[in-house]
């Protein structure tokens, strides 16, 4: 290789690095399997900083497995996962892993609250664990505003998870995920099992938090309304990989049968219609008149 070529290659690499710096999560060539069953094969995915990326796919296409692989709960067979430019596979030492771990918050499907701790104590766990220098009084105050921030009522603090409804449990889980002000938030089916009003409120909350805190959100969902109302882009998992990523309009333009069926099925059409109605209503309302 001549020197000029080498220099060129080096420049390309730097260019690429600069371009990639707005990527929060970069997954390349991921392969996951359980025994003989291959869940992911050669899966690529980019999550951009500051976006809400919706991840959809049929049951068993490995949405949760993908999330678990990114957050390090599942060791992939092959491939690379970079979070904030740091590869999560292989030679990450404990300190580095910890540093990355502090930068994300995860809301598991059932909330995964520690059942022996109250809501407030649950929120305080990460703070207590990572930042013992924060005094108890300030820690309580932090827990208090996090609880309010996720829309829980003020008296929810001393309650135990078993005393909460499903929706409140999710909110408490969200409060714990946000305890350390993460840059990256993973939500695994946040609106599953919520009533439509609760789900819409949760979506709204997610959007607002994302805007206020500048979060990047990796959102696994089955909820078409969530996809339409808050996701910037949607990634579709099928055939063991991400078959398409883009805005819903872009996805609709592809002719993959699963995508067509997903968005143009009866539920998909209903969600589209709802969004259209919203738009028309917004258009007919004067700009300064808030709905």
């Amino acid at each position: 290789m001549s020197e000029v070529d080498a220099q060129q290659a080096e420049e390309n690499r730097i260019d690429e690095a600069v371009e990639r710096s707005d990527i929060a999560i970069e997954v390349r060539g991921l392969r996951n399997s359980f025994g003989d069953q291959v869940v992911h094969e050669n899966l690529d995915l980019d999550v951009r900083k500051g976006e809400i990326l919706g991840v959809v796919g049929g049951s068993g296409t490995g949405k949760s497995v993908l999330m678990r692989a990114i957050i390090g709960l599942q060791n992939p067979d092959a491939g690379d996962i970079c979070v904030f430019g740091k590869s999560m596979i292989g030679e990450l030492n404990d300190d580095e892993a910890l540093a990355i771990r502090k930068r994300w918050g995860v809301l598991f499907q059932g909330g995964a609250l520690f059942s022996t701790l109250t809501v407030a104590e649950n929120v305080e766990v990460p703070i207590r664990e990572y930042y013992p220098n924060i005094g108890p009084a300030l820690r309580d105050e932090i827990a208090a505003y996090k609880i309010r921030m996720t829309g829980l009522p003020a008296e929810a603090g001393p309650k135990y998870p078993a005393e909460l409804s499903g929706g409140m449990r999710k909110r408490a889980g969200l409060a714990r995920a946000l305890a350390l002000d993460p840059d990256l938030l993973f939500l695994d089916e946040p609106t599953a099992g919520l009533d439509p009003i609760g789900a819409a409120a949760f979506d709204d909350q997610t959007r607002r938090l994302q805007q206020t805190l500048g979060l990047t959100v990796f959102l696994i969902t089955h909820d078409l309304d969530t996809l339409y109302s808050i996701c910037d882009r949607v990634a579709v998992l099928a055939d063991k990989r991400v078959i398409a990523v883009g805005t819903i309009a872009e996805l609709l333009a592809t002719d993959h049968p699963w995508i067509q069926e997903y968005f143009n099925g009866p539920r998909g059409r209903a969600a589209t219609a709802a969004v259209e109605r919203e738009k028309n209503k917004a258009a007919s309302t004067p700009p300064d008149g808030r709905r």
Binding site: K102, S115, T116, T118, A120, I127, Y131, N133, I134, G135, L138, D140, E141, I142, A143, A144, Y145, I147, R148, M149, A154, E155, A156, G157, P158, Y160, P161, A162, L180, D181, T212, L213, G214
Partner: protein, 369 residues
């Protein structure tokens, strides 16, 4: 990016200005909140113009200090203003901890709770026993509903798998009794009575009692944990809605399995313990096995065997019902499964020993001594 948060103060004519700098994020705050708490009065403003980065925890720290001192927040950039405004809106009283009663009240309360718990557990167990009898009666009238497979499957788990550990334990117990007994009896020159001791004690008491304790630890706890987990995952509710009685499908097969297995295991345990005793007699007392067996046949009446065999199924009922009852009481969370499992074993062993005492009195009364 990772510059530690710091503060500098500047005296003005109308009060101090606190100038914050560096990174006001949770990782970089260090002792800043404590230092800010040190300020009491006469702070006019908090200047954020030299802050690089701020998160909500930094914003909250600034907000609470400003609110406490009545200071203005100046020089905040767009991000900081947005976050401080956001957390400011959330500043309202939130209950964090449950109310705590004074200690004497709590102690009295706990005693009362323990008493009512003990009472309700006893009544609950009785009720559960009654319910199992009713179900048994229903099964006797409709034998086709009887789940043979479920029972046989439990036979293996409760009985066959326990053979190894119960055998080992009984063998060792037999050795220990023979050894300890012979040391005492030697003082009277009556070492031969060791055989009486081993034979009668194991058949009447120890064989069954040790088996009961082992089965309570192995199977009673497993029943409580299994049913408790099924309760948590709503499997038991699902069964009920489908029309399958959990009593019939879960509790009775387990109870029956333990009731059938207990006499067998108890007998096995007695025999192994006697072999252990005989082994020690042969090795350290120079009593040949043939003498041991002959003497055993002379001193152990057949009623001793019946005493053990009659007690065993009763103990089995207690162990199985305590396990199943506690499992069915699980309501809230995974931690409760653990507590209930412990309670199942403790109650089973306690009740077994209480009933054993009653049996001892009863058998003496009927003249089987």
């Amino acid at each position: 990016m990772n510059k530690a948060a710091d503060l500098a103060e500047e005296m003005g004519d109308d009060g101090t200005v606190i100038r914050l700098s560096g990174n006001l994020a949770i990782a970089c705050l260090h002792d800043l909140p404590a230092r800010l708490d040190g300020y009491q009065d006469a702070v006019r403003a908090i200047d954020l113009s030299q802050v690089d980065h701020i998160d909500t925890i930094g914003a909250w720290t600034v907000h609470r200090t400003a609110a406490r001192l009545g200071a203005d927040i100046v020089g905040a950039n767009e991000d900081a203003r947005r976050l401080i405004e956001a957390v400011g809106q959330l500043d309202e009283p939130v209950t964090i901890r449950p109310d705590h009663a004074p200690p004497w009240k709590r102690v009295v309360g706990q005693i009362g709770e323990a008493v009512t718990n003990a009472g309700s557990t006893l009544f609950g167990l009785l009720g559960f026993f009654g319910a199992s009898l009713v179900t048994t009666w229903a099964l006797i009238r409709h034998p086709s509903r009887f789940r043979v497979n479920a029972v046989v499957q439990r036979f293996e788990v409760v009985g066959v798998s326990a053979l190894g550990i119960i055998g080992l334990m009984s063998f060792l117990i037999g050795i220990v009794i023979a050894q300890q007994g012979s040391v005492q009896l030697r003082q009277f020159g009556m070492e031969m009575l060791t055989i009486n001791l081993v034979g009668r004690l194991t058949f009447r008491e120890l064989g069954v009692l040790m088996t009961a304790i082992m089965v309570a630890g192995r199977s009673g706890s497993a029943f409580a944990a299994q049913l408790g987990t099924m309760k948590l995952t709503e499997e038991i509710d699902a069964m009920r809605t489908i029309g399958v009685s959990p009593m019939e499908a879960l509790v009775l097969p387990r109870t029956l399995a333990v009731v059938v297995m207990m006499p067998l295991l108890g007998f096995y345990s007695s025999i192994v313990a006697i072999i252990g005793g005989g082994f020690l007699c042969a090795v350290s007392l120079d009593i040949p096995p043939i003498t041991f067996v002959q003497r055993l046949r002379e001193v152990v009446p057949i009623t001793d065997l019946w005493v053990g065999l009659i007690k065993a199924p009763v103990f089995g009922v207690i162990i199985a019902l305590a396990g199943c009852y506690q499992g069915m009481q699980v309501k809230a969370n995974a931690e409760e499964v653990g507590l209930r499992t412990t309670a199942a074993v403790v109650q089973a062993i306690f009740l077994v020993i209480v009933i054993d005492a009653f049996f001892a009195v009863f058998f003496t009364w009927v003249g089987w001594n």
